[in-house]
Subunit: 112 residues, 2 copies
DNA sequence: CGGGCTATATCGTAACGCGATATAGCTGGG
DNA sequence: CCCAGCTATATCGCGTTACGATATAGCCCG
């Protein structure tokens, strides 16, 4: 009875990843852990890796491969200009939604 | 290139509808208009009606049918106790996510 | 009578999250 | 020396969802 948590995250995950990349590059596993320390936003590799691939395909991220001290080479992702403006759009929308939902929760919604 | 808006809404729509019912009953069409005056949260009938059916099936809402002055009978929905506590859970989670995302957007991510 | 508004419902499609699973390099213990 | 465990990436498949398109029906107005 907590499938709604999964649904609440949809799209929101994309936003999280872009937001986490706002201040510089990072590789998948790192993003995973960085985001996972946020309460209520725990993701898994199955979510992050396909997403990163998609965002790269959509030109919102660029990749740089560098060897890892342990394991396969790391793939460092960075926001493109388009990714940056995309993030800004999302942030704006996000603010609106936040405000709107808070309004719904607190009585308003019909008072003219 | 705005499919992310749709994704951002997933699950969030459920939250909106429950939140909109927080202060009393309403019928589908009414909910639709009430939520649609919130910027960035415009829904359609195709989204709301199946959702209301699902929430009712899951015992989060109850229905009361009453004749309409125009058109088919209205179906008034109301939160059950379970729906109420469900909404509280979601609101808590929502707060966490809000805080977490804001932290991600504003530099933080590791500073304790 | 016909167009427009209210009000509900369903089908089909596309997109996404995530559990399960595979793979590979490195390190430390028995 | 080998196996267990950690880092790091990737893919398949399932279930869930939002929404455009579409159908239906009662009411009002010209």
């Amino acid at each position: 009875m907590k499938t709604w948590v999964a649904q609440l995250r949809k799209g929101l995950v994309e936003f999280s990843v872009l937001a986490a990349l706002r201040h510089g590059e990072a590789y998948g596993y790192e993003l995973l852990q960085r985001i996972n320390r946020i309460e209520g936003l725990a993701l898994t590799e199955s979510t992050v890796y396909p997403l990163l691939a998609r965002l790269t395909r959509d030109k919102l991220l660029t990749v740089r491969v560098a060897p890892s001290p342990a394991g396969p080479p790391r793939r460092y992702y960075r926001l493109t200009d388009e990714g940056q403006s995309h993030l800004n759009d999302m942030a704006g929308h996000w603010k609106q939604v936040q405000t709107g939902l808070d309004a719904l929760l607190n009585g308003t919604g019909d008072r003219p």
